[in-house]
Assembly symmetry: C2
Homo-oligomer: 335 residues x 2
């Protein structure tokens, strides 16, 4: 592999000049630049990113740390992020935290060791110590989905309260009165927000007595909770599930019980469901614009990375409004 010195020799200049030519062309004369470039082409020169990274103290890698790599939701995001990063000559390193604070911090620390340029993080921790550790990495970090309270990070998410509100409102309008929220864990930021949205809408509609059961954002617990829910005396006429996998767990339980959806119970959920169109019934849900989410998060990150006075401007925040898509899983009560 040709090095910068080979290029320098061939172009008859010093290696500093070659370096300058590529990093800040305005600092070298047009004539020299041309010589250097043609020498580089002739030798097939490609800078060694490891050497560059070592010298500069940072590499052109971006970390992406998520709770669960196999979540299909993540793939769509990754696709867009990778595309944008590639365009600016950054690579993506992916890592999984298993939604666990300790693992997340371990992974981040490992990425920081690699001198990554920045990080897209789906945070799963909380508390002052957590925020403090995050800050100590001294890394441009954009947080997604879950908000880190007390941290000063760029943040992109969709409006979680509105999401449950939309669904609840929809069900109320269809005449439902006994609506249960199959929620995520209340100690997750998104879980809590979604619960608030539900509660708020129910209260505003004059209800004080409603159920919220925790499905842990996972299919199996959701299945179990639904079983419990649908076999008791006063069963709900509608369920709002806080995410897609719980909705499917819930739906499976409903089918297994022989209860009909939407005739006996309506079901609405948050999150995109790939191939919803062939699911029976098609779920009524609120969707996020994932590629928009990805675009905003990536541009936040790249801006911060490229910006020299990185700490100068305050953290930004974008809250996307999700879109309600009415499927066939919800139906007017009693009709």
């Amino acid at each position: 592999m040709a090095t910068i010195r080979d290029v320098a020799r061939r172009a008859g200049v010093s290696s500093s000049t070659v370096s300058l030519t590529f990093s800040d062309a305005s600092r070298v004369s047009a004539e020299t630049a041309k010589k250097v470039r043609s020498a580089a082409v002739a030798l097939g020169y490609r800078p060694n990113p490891l050497a560059q990274g070592l010298k500069r103290g940072r590499s052109r890698m971006i970390g992406m740390v998520v709770g669960d790599l196999s979540n299909p939701f993540f793939g769509s995001l990754l696709k867009e992020v990778e595309r944008l990063a590639k365009r600016s000559n950054y690579n993506i390193i992916v890592a999984e935290s298993e939604a666990d604070q300790a693992q997340e911090l371990a992974v981040l620390s490992h990425l920081a060791d690699q001198r990554i340029a920045g990080c897209l993080l789906f945070p799963h921790g909380r508390g002052a110590a957590y925020v403090e550790t995050l800050n100590e990495f001294d890394l441009p970090i954009v947080t997604l989905d879950h908000k880190v309270e007390g941290g000063a990070f760029d943040f992109v998410c969709s409006d979680n309260r509105i999401a449950t509100s939309m669904l609840t409102e929809h069900l109320l309008r269809l005449g439902h009165r006994r609506i249960t929220h199959l929620s995520g864990p209340a100690h997750f930021w998104t879980g809590a927000e979604r619960i608030k949205g539900f509660e708020h809408t129910m209260r505003s509609a004059g209800f004080t007595d409603f159920d919220i059961v925790d499905g842990g954002y996972m299919a199996d617990p959701a299945y179990a909770e639904t079983m419990r829910l649908m076999t008791r005396s006063e069963r709900p006429t509608a369920i709002v599930a806080a995410n897609n996998v719980m909705a499917l767990g819930c739906l499976a339980a409903i089918k297994d019980l022989g209860v009909r959806c939407p005739e006996d119970v309506s079901l609405a959920a948050i999150d995109n469901v790939p191939w919803n169109s062939v699911i029976d019934p098609q779920l009524t849900l609120v969707e996020q614009d994932l590629s928009r989410l990805a675009r905003i998060a990536t541009s936040y990150l790249l801006e911060r990375i490229e910006n020299p006075d990185i700490d100068a401007y305050p953290p930004r925040e974008t809250v996307l409004t999700p879109r309600l898509v009415v499927g066939t899983s919800t139906k007017r009560y009693g009709s």
Copy 2:
């Protein structure tokens, strides 16, 4: 950040000794090793991977190059790969080729510049020049899914011929006689293999006259082809789709036409479908054991990476047999 020299100073040894302590502990006395380690801990020393990579000529990164990052099939794979790689202290860089040979090579060349240790590749090219270029990267490469003919790479896939054979056999046994194969592109290795499996089974059963239509492995073309197929005079009584997204495109067309599945037409497909359990009808399909696939591919790669005489042993190949899962989308003909 503490460097190796800081550790050396504190431990009262040279930096070479520190390096040795971590790379090959047997070469330093137990006593010295202890001093070094405790100094390292005291200073919170962590080796700089960039410096190591520069000096060694390779980093501890593994590339994963796929056609489409948003394919959910890929997420499950990635999850397992990342887990195993992390365990051996490797990171995963993901990159997308958009199933295009030129882009794939560009991406690989960029990864090679990064001095990655090895690569998991879903190849999308063919021909001598392609193979030649791949070889020139001089990189441990494990290929997945598509076989690179003429190349000497480790290879892991599932048995594509058997996959279509299983489905076709199943349909024949149910009494179907007019079976159409909604195939992938014949110029893709997997597409061709799946076609062969279909043809072979049909021929063995004594049929010479059957249709194969190309759905391009994509949902929209599959939808269109299905529309065409189901609206002509002699329509098939069963369809074998060569992958999951085509199956869903096909199913959508069937539903839109008001044709009933499985009453009017049976549908069977290759590939895992997440949440198949709530799709109506549940697809009859052949599944791959994705985590097994990931485990084998990763271990192939790691072995080659860690093995000094890397070129010594010949490429290995694993063909996994997929599993037939009978759903409700296939039904005895006429009954």
